[in-house]
């Protein structure tokens, strides 16, 4: 008892607290440091889908760059992609266009700003803060997926199957049409309606709810998707669109694109560094379709590629990695005929496969073709159409651009109609990708841009400069006021405030949280408010000094102010949390920096200042406090 009391009056801190403070300071400095080094202009080369880079690619790239006499600052290969740094942007731009020409569509070549963090810091995982689009420039899109259309398409998909099932079971019906979020199947009489209801219940009971209605002029069965299958449909629609977007953005060549789901029906697309928003929108707004064609086995595709002439009746196509393939000119079935495509596991071979379902018309055509072509190969071509604006001789021309990729070519094993499997795929991942592409080409729900925010590069830099300037000026003003009012104690508080700023930057860098302009405002506000804890403590010490000894006053000042500080900060944190949960993008950034600032300021303003003040005054005879 006596021991502890004595410690308290002596105003001394145990060694571990100093150790903690030193450790936190050192870690803070290390992780805040990468922000001082700036960026290198760089080119990032990542493989396109189903391509992996190897030693050959490296040699190819090296060769191209040395031939063009470009000074490479450094080149690294990590996570399957190359990052090549240059000394200046001129070389960077040259290298980009050279590599893009040479590697073609097998790679995504993008300009990037790579942080110039020294090796020893990178080894420790220290990275600079991640700047938001408002600071680095770029485009932010919010895409809205038309879920009503997606659900309607799901009904249309069933329409065909429902008709087929009724025909198979020899139930006569009048019509089956989509109307008002349900599928209405009309029958001539009550008997056939009841038979129909039974058939439909048996066949589609899991996905569709069949309700009979005899009150209407013609007896009918209303089919409604179950809530779970509606949810499933929406999830699918969103996923499909995300996949399509990802593929298209690869075309744009963006170094660090963000494509994220937001809520149930929205997709956020962020393209840092992209300035040509018109082109970005054109590419994102492309429409896709599919074609099933037979492979033309006579003729050499490689020769056709060389000469540019395809044999009669054939046309040259390419896989995504550039491998050529000759396909017959006539299309068997196109995207409109595809009802569904789902990945799964082949029960016989245990390998990955995709189940494809066609509609009635497509099934008939497929049957006619496959009858005659067992043993031949059939290919799926993925076609994307978009309109691009191109400037030619000062005039703007709208040009229709079509890209056609073979996404699969498989041997026809036997005749089939509207249901078939594409087997022999290498991995479940490949099957999933193929299924997604098939669906994207056939049934993607339409998307619309509902929000766009573009920030030009000069504005981004200006935002950084202005933000930085206001932090510095605000910070210095606070330092001056604190010294003016609290003398030595004010200096101590300033030390803590500086440490606080370092820790905030370090935490933001460690979390890789996005720093936005409002985020900087949050930091500025934190600087202003962080001294509140010290103000509370110091004013309390002054008050206590009036009727107690110096050591007691210091002790009491800290102890009594603590509850108040805690209360006050918790309430501010409460507001920050509400902000975080309701805000979007930039507002979230403000909430994050504010919350981090509040938490770190508690540490530096209470523990930090106390440690220094104990060191200065603790266990000493002090005549007068400089406060």
């Amino acid at each position: 008892m006596f021991q502890t009391q004595q410690k308290v009056i002596a105003n001394r801190y145990p060694a571990w607290k100093y150790l903690l403070l030193v450790v936190v300071t050192v870690i803070g400095l290390i992780y805040a440091m990468p922000n001082l080094f700036g960026d290198d202009p760089a080119v990032q080369v990542s493989p396109a889908k189903s391509v992996t880079f190897d030693e050959d690619t490296r040699q190819q790239i090296d060769q191209i760059l040395t031939q063009a006499n470009l000074a490479v600052k450094s080149s690294e290969f990590a996570e399957g992609r190359f990052l090549i740094r240059f000394d200046n942007t001129e070389d960077q731009l040259k290298a980009k266009s050279l590599l893009k020409d040479a590697l073609g569509r097998s790679a995504v070549v993008a300009l990037n700003l790579a942080p110039a963090t020294p090796e020893f810091l990178r080894a420790m995982g220290a990275q600079p803060m991640y700047l938001g689009l408002d600071l680095r420039g770029g485009v932010h899109f919010l895409m809205d997926v038309d879920m009503d259309a997606a659900v309607e398409k799901a009904y249309l998909r069933y329409e065909d199957e429902v008709k087929g099932a009724l025909r198979e079971n020899k139930v006569r019906y009048l019509s089956a049409d989509y109307e008002n979020e349900q599928l209405l199947v009309k029958f001539r009489d009550v008997d056939s309606m009841q038979a129909g209801q039974k058939v439909l219940q048996n066949q589609f009971g899991e996905e569709l709810k069949a309700v009979a209605n005899q009150e209407t002029a013609t007896p009918l069965v209303a089919l409604k998707l179950s809530p779970s299958s509606i949810a499933e449909t929406k999830k699918f629609a969103l996923q499909q669109n995300i996949t399509t977007l990802r593929n298209r953005i690869n075309e744009l060549g963006v170094a660090e694109p963000v494509i994220q789901q937001q809520g149930e029906r929205r997709i956020v697309v962020q393209l840092p560094g992209v300035q040509d928003t018109a082109r970005a929108k054109e590419i994102l707004g492309a429409t896709a379709t599919l074609e099933f064609r037979l492979v033309e086995e006579r003729g050499d595709p490689y020769r056709a590629e060389e000469t540019g002439y395809a044999p009669h009746g054939a046309k040259l196509y390419k896989f995504r990695d550039g491998t050529p393939l000759l396909l017959q000119r006539s299309v068997i079935v196109s995207g409109e005929n595809v009802i569904n495509a789902q990945s799964g596991i082949d029960p016989e071979q245990g390998s990955a496969m995709v189940n494809v379902t066609l509609d009635g018309a497509g099934g008939r055509k497929m049957l006619a073709t496959t009858k005659k072509n067992v043993g031949n190969r059939m290919a799926v071509v993925y076609i994307e159409n978009r309109v691009e604006t191109i400037e030619q001789n000062g005039e703007k021309l709208k040009k229709r651009i079509t890209t056609k990729d073979v996404i699969n070519a498989a041997v026809i094993r036997g005749q089939f109609a509207n249901r078939f499997q594409i087997t022999g795929l290498d991995s479940p991942q490949e099957a999933q990708d193929l299924a997604l592409l098939l669906r994207a080409g056939a049934l993607a729900a339409p998307m619309e841009i509902v929000e766009e925010r573009t920030v030009g590069p000069s504005l981004g830099q200006e935002n950084i400069d202005q933000g930085f300037m206001s932090v510095i000026v605000g910070f210095i003003l606070v330092l001056i006021v604190m010294v003016w009012r609290y003398k030595t104690f004010g200096m101590v508080a300033n030390l803590a405030l500086t440490l606080n700023l370092v820790i905030i930057v370090a935490v933001l860098s460690m979390l890789q949280a996005t720093l936005t302009l409002p985020g900087i405002a949050g930091i500025v506000l934190t600087v202003g408010m962080a001294v509140d804890a010290n103000v509370l403590i110091f004013e309390r010490i002054r008050e206590e000094l009036k009727n107690s000894s110096i050591q007691t006053a210091i002790y009491a000042g800290y102890e009594k102010a603590f509850v108040t500080i805690a209360d006050a900060n918790i309430t501010t944190l409460l507001a920050a949390i509400v902000l975080f949960s309701f805000g979007t993008g930039p507002i979230k950034g403000f909430a994050i920096t504010l919350s981090i600032g509040i938490l770190t300021s508690m540490f530096t303003a209470i523990l930090g200042t106390r440690a220094i003040i104990n060191l200065m005054y603790g266990n000493k005879r002090v005549e007068k406090l400089s406060i």
């Binding site: 308290v8 809205d144 408010m529 103000v535 107690s548 000894s549 009491a556 006050a568 920050a576 507002i587």
Partner: protein, 341 residues
């Protein structure tokens, strides 16, 4: 202790009826502004397109407007933004033209009539439905923040304080909104964020005063609630001024140096901090007093404990003081011995 400080006390609470009248006047004024002028909502809430372009040299807005009108955007609003070379164009959402292509067309129209080429600095397009959602989310955020505060303060203090602090917050929010209505500064998402931050800040202030009021109710043996509150406000006066001062300083730095985009944000916070500082004294405490907060209310639950705690704290303090003196004597003695040696 109380005698010495009592002398130079400013009778804040004595003026509370006058302050009430002032607050009411400001609130009525804000409502009038909101009713007559309304808020100048940004496209975050209304939907529409905003385009910021930079010209190589100062540009006449009339030309820009006629360019826009020629391209078919008669209703587009063009104004200078920050400098004479920067122009901000706002286009309201149009029926059937909910397309993000709009910004491209506008840029084409403007580029056509300038020789030196203009730079696109910023485009913001918000679809009407997103705007509606943001409005709804924003209103909900403010509501939830207030409810959260109500609960926290009621748990931590007492319901009268809780009502007092929420009254102060509503007071602050209304007056800040009023200033935005009268000045017609654009109200966008960042301003909404600032208003939520004002709620946090003003509350911070209120809590600090309440904390002291509670402490004084426990330690001051006598005194009417009004007097006790007054002492607390006075004790916290230096702190209130200092913190508001530092916060205002950094906000002024933001206001003047942060650039146009952050301007509204900084303004909202400046107004909020000034009004919030005033309201934590006059609105929060005054409402708590009006509702009849008393010593007993705060002591009710932890009455025994509270007294004991206070007593113990007092004893502890006396003990510590004695120890400190003893130690000081010892140190002095040791030093004297050292000196003699």
């Amino acid at each position: 202790m109380s005698e010495t400080t009592m002398e130079k006390q400013i009778n804040f609470m004595g003026q509370r009826h006058l302050a009430m009248a002032l607050s009411l006047l400001m609130i009525v004024g804000s409502f009038v502004g909101l009713w007559m002028k309304g808020l100048n909502f940004g496209i975050d809430f209304t939907g529409g397109t905003l385009i910021e372009v930079a010209y190589p040299q100062a540009v006449d807005l009339k030309e820009v407007r006629s360019d826009l009108a020629n391209a078919g955007y008669d209703e587009a609003v063009a104004q200078h933004f920050g400098s004479a070379t920067d122009v901000l164009i706002r286009i309201a959402p149009r029926e059937g033209l909910n397309s993000a292509q709009l910004s491209n067309q506008v840029m084409d129209a403007l580029k056509a009539s300038t020789e030196n080429g203009i730079e696109l600095r910023r485009v913001e397009f918000v679809g009407p439905q997103v705007g509606d959602e943001l409005t709804e989310d924003g209103a909900l955020a403010v509501l939830y923040a207030l409810i959260g505060v109500l609960i926290y303060v009621a748990l931590r203090f007492e319901w009268r304080f809780s009502v007092g602090s929420v009254a102060a917050l509503i007071h602050d929010v209304i007056i800040t909104l009023g200033v935005f209505a009268w000045t017609q500064v654009q109200f966008d998402l960042t301003v909404l964020a600032a208003i939520l931050a004002v709620i946090g800040y003003s509350l911070n202030d209120t809590i600090v005063v309440f904390d002291r009021v509670r402490e004084n109710f426990r330690t001051m043996r006598e005194g009417e609630p009004v007097e006790v509150t007054n002492v607390a406000v006075n004790q916290m006066l230096a702190r209130t001024i200092m913190t508001s001062l530092t916060t205002l300083l950094v906000l002024l730095a933001l206001f003047f140096l942060g650039g146009e985009i952050i301007y509204g944000f900084a303004l909202a916070l400046i107004v909020g901090v000034v009004v919030g500082t005033y309201s934590s004294t006059y609105v929060a405490s005054a409402v708590a007093l009006m509702l009849g907060v008393s010593k007993e209310d705060l002591m009710k639950a932890p009455k025994e404990e509270g007294d004991k705690e206070a007593e113990e704290a007092e004893l502890q303090r006396i003990f510590l003081e004695q120890e400190a003196r003893r130690e000081a004597r010892e140190i002095a003695k040791a030093q004297r011995q050292n000196a003699e040696e």
